[in-house]
Subunit: 331 residues, 4 copies
């Protein structure tokens, strides 16, 4: 059994990591670390876990084989600095501390976009788990980048659920405001652009194209819906949009053929098809001279805790899907 | 023109009072009083008022003919204590400071349940505006109390929108928690029971019956839906439930025949039929030996700012509906 | 492996049964029966199953060990009449055909309220799965009935999610109407009262008390929140409400001590604590002379497909929780 | 008083037109025309109008001065063909029959994008009311087109509320599906592109630029949120994004200086700032070399019935705002 510690235990991603690990057949919880709530029962904060665990928050780590850092951005380095962690213990950071600067105190954090860097993760020791928007958007453009088919600006609009903003109550996470509302924030300058461009450079070996990214706050708790398009430079043999779409779909299916959670849909799909699952669904269409990809994930699962556990499975040589086959909520 | 001051200007009920008064043909805003935001434009806080007003928050009252106190409960007395208010200036308190103890510093606050105490308000000087739950529930039981038809316990379940909890961000007003959720709070001991029982005593001239009130938090921003029932003691001449229902409906229609905003529905109705209006809709049915009344209001309008302006109209001898005919939002 | 057929495969409860059985370690899907969609891929209808199954709808049953009938009410008898089903094959009916009249063509349908009739189900052959409202409400009152502590009318208000109305598009399942709305239907005469009263009679051995049941349509897709109360006749030794509440909680905990999915909460809980799980959460309080129970389930899981699979586990001698430990959606 | 007939009286836009006209001080309802419901009370269908009108649906037009055609697309021509309408009677068509082909049977339909074609409407006789998406999007780009500042592709993502799909129950207007969901439809080929491009041509006098339009279905009943951007070709004197933004804002404010309902916001805004109002709010920002405009309207008001009445006011020489100052719902 893998002994896992979850640090930052009262937040949304920690709760979700815990929800997943409690049912993981190869994992035993070493600790749910929280200094503020140490001694309290975990289900007093994550009330949905009532009846599923009698664990209490702890201010010691136990003796974990792997630590999930579910901390505010910038706090992971500080945690590593101030706690004694065995060099053998693997770290999976769900924050953004090691996504752009992967080396820290002798550790090297592999960027855990599992579908694209599967082998690196398998051979890695520590993981910088991708951001939620970054996961949805990169899933849509990595296959194109890999084939050097991005020759023009990329246009992205992506809408996130309210859990993406974290647990702290603010004016934009208030129900009365957010319900039935839509708004834009961090126009063209969301922090996930950094990791997206870094991946684009690695995949193309050259300069990253422009990515114009409009992030929106959606009026739902879970999920990210990304709408992505760029000019299509496919085979000249494909004349009709149907033929071009078929070509593009093939390219995507080939790219994801070994991915157990990422699928290319033929049919109409919508955000709720992925909610409460570790799946990423992609719908690929060519029209108007553009290739358009709709990319959908659950921000807390594939966009955070689910992909983190997927990465843990890869790090420990388990089947990638272990403990990650969830009943979709669907509605 | 009536010069009106709105005190506590940044809160939900103040915003709603302002939304109403800006279009009121007989009112001119003397001030939107807020010490914390004095000098800021009103539309910087109530962003929906962009383009509709260039007013700024002020820390002086102006010289109002009427003051709407939109303060936290308990704060109205303090405001009166610490500000010089002309004795001629009328006060309408939207908090609960004067509902149970109506006399204060030479003022006598009439309980402004307009449909039931219309004449008292017309002849009054100051008004204690009823609570939102209290308005919905009393609208359902006042006709029965008046006819001394309540001879058994009253059972009430009422669900409120999130704006009822005020503007302060808390764990139960968080979108991620409240969306698609239902919960109970203050079981059998909501503070509005006090004013409800006081009205029951006044109407019956005797003891108030037991009122078992289950308040619920609903996953919508606006509205209160109250489900109310008690044993039915109608005419022995009515045998079938249809006949009993007809008798009960007549009683309610008679009671509300002069009310411009309260209506008894024959058809199926639902909460959104009243949202963004000053209406109270009632559906009356007799079945199972019980008379059941569904009572629906918008908690911010009929349950607060709308009824407050209705009371202002009555105080100043205007037609009761002046400035209160709103386009329903319906959806 | 148990070979399972799901009949009525395109509806909500069939979809949910399928979502559960696809991950059940002891089950193999024999068929997803639908005459209207025979030949179509299951994921073309249940789009969230894309990537999780390549099953197609079929118009033959296969050779199942158990059949889940997910049909409109009244249609289960017809299905049995018109299809050849081996007498060895067990039937679990999710409709209401056998809840009140359990014997049909040599089969005897045990009422599958698992927590209360666990042993009967274990020894049974066929199951009439309880209704969703009936599950939530009976979970709240069975412990009291068993102890003969119900000596007065029972008051129930219960709010259901929109999936409870089935998949057919109607005016009351329209988004524009239902969003942010609340309404009452079938006041005091919901069809689940029949099975509730039947259980009360069986548990008390006498007449069933009056149950006044106000069903409401909620503006959420999943879940039932039932608020239930009746006069409390506890020990005279308990004076304070706290002591009475403690006594009542003990009684409920004792009743559910062998139940793997039904829990009595000490803390504040809300509907979303059970969504997408097979749990029933109960909050028990004594106040105002009443015992009040909040009872929460997911209508499609514990209220339908989840309890059906729980009953299958019992019928086949498996651990009751097999395949039913779902990650809660929580938000 | 203007006598107005509303044709297609049971639909969403007819209901909204009626809600508006009932409170319009210069209008008297000549008829609410519906053959299917003739004789029924209007409030039996538009249940929120209970207590506000005792009108009945009629199968005769009365003798109107103006007819609002609220019919399915393509049906307006048929209605004109089959009914005798006085040449003096003005027609405002809320469908799309005359937006691209404005001449029909001696009538010439002015395109009623009030802010841009105000004078034409004032001098017109009949109006083709713009589509809802078309109103939101054109409000964002008309000021740029007028100044010939569009020299590159326009990128549009716009999200619509469920009422935009009309009243007919379909799988994508089902609550269980639409709640908390997002999806794309008619990718790059929404029918409103026609009228958008037509306006662009008229304003620029040349060819229309490419408009890449991604329409989305939102999980709210009312409102359209359009996110629009294109390359910015402003003054070379403006170096910083702040200076460029100021220049762009000035241009927009100048364009809309006579518009009583369209405003350029300095502050952060969100969709609900316009819901239940006839306003269009615009937020203009320059960044990343792009000018980005967020454009928000209520699809049933400014996007349909509200702008239709605004056009009626212009046609009849009334103040443009008459009867259109609604209390915002805000929450």
């Amino acid at each position: 059994m893998i002994k896992a510690a979850i640090v930052g235990g009262t937040g949304y991603t920690a709760g979700e990591t815990l929800r997943i690990l409690l049912n993981h057949p190869e994992v035993q919880i070493a600790s749910v670390f929280s200094t503020s709530c140490a001694g309290d029962s975990v289900s007093s904060v994550h009330t949905d876990l009532l009846g599923e665990t009698t664990l209490k928050f702890s201010d010691t780590l136990g003796d974990p084989d792997v630590i999930f850092l579910c901390l505010g951005h910038g706090v992971s380095r500080e945690f590593i600095d101030t706690h004694e962690i065995s060099p053998d213990c693997k770290i999976i950071d769900l924050g953004n501390d090691f996504r752009l600067e992967p080396e820290y105190k002798g550790r090297k954090f592999v960027y855990g976009l599992a579908d694209t860097f599967r082998d690196e993760v398998k051979n890695g020791h520590d993981v910088a788990n991708p951001g939620c928007f970054a996961t949805a958007i990169q899933s849509a453009i990595a296959p194109l980048a890999k084939k050097e088919l991005i020759k023009d600006d990329i246009h992205v609009t992506a809408i996130t659920g309210a859990t993406g903003a974290g647990k702290k109550a603010t004016s934009t996470t208030q129900f009365s405001w957010r319900d039935n509302n839509i708004s834009i924030y961090k126009l063209f300058r969301h922090q996930h652009l950094g990791e997206i461009k870094r991946t684009l450079k690695r995949l193309t070996g050259g300069e990253a194209p422009e990515v114009h990214f409009v992030p929106m706050r959606g009026d739902f708790p879970r999920g990210i819906f990304a709408s992505v398009y760029t000019k299509w430079y496919g085979s000249s043999a494909c004349i009709s949009d149907e033929a071009k779409t078929a070509e593009a779909c093939s390219l995507f299916k080939e790219y994801y053929k070994e991915s157990p959670f990422t699928f290319v849909a033929e049919q109409e799909i919508s955000l709720k098809d992925v909610v409460n699952t570790n799946k990423c669904l992609l719908k690929v269409q060519v029209a108007d001279g553009m290739i358009h990809i709709s990319s959908m994930i659950d921000n807390l699962v594939k966009g955070a805790a689910g992909q983190a556990v997927e990465n843990m499975n890869l790090l420990f040589g388990l089947d990638e899907t272990t403990g990650l086959k969830f009943k979709p909520s669907a509605f």
